[in-house]
Symmetry: C2
Subunit: 212 residues, 2 copies
């Protein structure tokens, strides 16, 4: 069975669902994951480092990269480009690593369309109340900003059915384990084993030649 190539996985979820912490824990716990860093034309915010939060670049370079088919997916958002560089993803997958894309639903759907063998996971808190509580407890945002995040979450919740799996981030450790199990399970999907299936099919056909 072909199990060597890594899985392309998309992790999305409501703002406040704890995606960042989950990704960090997953990378720390297992060697088999690699995080894709997006490229953007937006200016770095305070504390953001090139190559860590994003690869920062200018419009000209971004558009050239688009022209060279250098992105797995890209989108324009609030006047800036955001894209997933192709080379890193392909290298890591070929090396057997599961590549994590932490992107929103629009990007997730584009990835799924281009790569039907990608795995889409949506992270959610145990309830909407809990999401509200977490956003409020951060203490860094105005009531209006929180209300807007919740409105955005309501919009995003419409797209959950497009994901392969939904996981509840209640206990971090349990959630990391669950995501890992989902990725392992995904390796058994027919779409990720076409070579194996075709081979067994051909062999069976050759065996049964001449049988009525």
């Amino acid at each position: 069975m072909l199990k060597k190539k890594g899985i392309l996985m998309v992790l999305s979820g409501f703002s406040g669902a704890g995606k960042g912490t989950l990704v960090k824990a997953l990378l720390q716990k297992y060697d088999s994951y690699a995080l894709s860093v997006s490229m953007t034309t937006r200016a770095p915010r305070e504390g953001e480092r090139d190559g860590v939060e994003y690869f920062f670049t200018d419009r000209q370079h971004f558009e050239e990269t688009v022209g060279q088919n250098g992105f797995i997916e890209y989108a324009s958002y609030c006047g800036n480009y955001y894209g997933t560089p192709r080379a890193y993803v392909e290298e890591q997958m070929a090396a057997g690593r599961n590549v994590i894309l932490e992107i929103e639903i629009q990007g997730a759907l584009k990835v799924k369309e281009k790569f039907p063998e990608s795995l889409l996971i949506f992270v959610t808190p145990p309830s909407a109340e809990e999401l509200k509580r977490r956003l409020e407890n951060r203490g860094t945002e105005t009531a209006e900003a929180i209300a807007q995040r919740l409105a955005r979450a309501a919009e995003e919740s419409e797209g959950v059915e497009a994901y392969d799996y939904i996981v509840v981030n209640d206990d971090l450790e349990a959630c990391v384990e669950e995501i890992h199990r989902l990725v392992e399970a995904a390796r058994c999907a027919p779409v990720r084993n076409t070579e194996f299936i075709n081979k067994i099919r051909e062999q069976l056909q050759s065996f049964s030649k001449g049988v009525k």
Copy 2:
């Protein structure tokens, strides 16, 4: 998250893939599985016990049961009826057990159509050569019967893509574990969590009322 209801799982696979042994091992190892026993109008073969291999019945009773919507799926095959009694499946699932249907691809597709939340698993030996070897090593069948089984396997292999997962039965213990992991993973699919998703959606919408 709604995780209490059992999963309706279909196990199919080539004759010689070891489905029977797998099912037995799964039932022995975990309390959370129940095996659905099919009903048939064909006569019992030597050693077959009513309620174990099949529930044996006559055409009249079978057709009455069809009329009462008493089967999850049924089919006619070589002049006999075969069906999956509905009551047992529903009782066991409601009790939180994962119900195993060991049926062929035609039945599997019918089940998936009626129950999109069912989980279809296809079991295969590591290779076609290995399948051939296993069939030959049984020593109970003529070369012609083996050739026919292989021809049938070649036909069945055309339908593998309709299954959610394909598992290789190389090492029995590892395969049982893999199937169990797949069933656990399946609990996270959106289709099996519609109540949870709808609830969080409604709550988020109520929170964000009045937000521009």
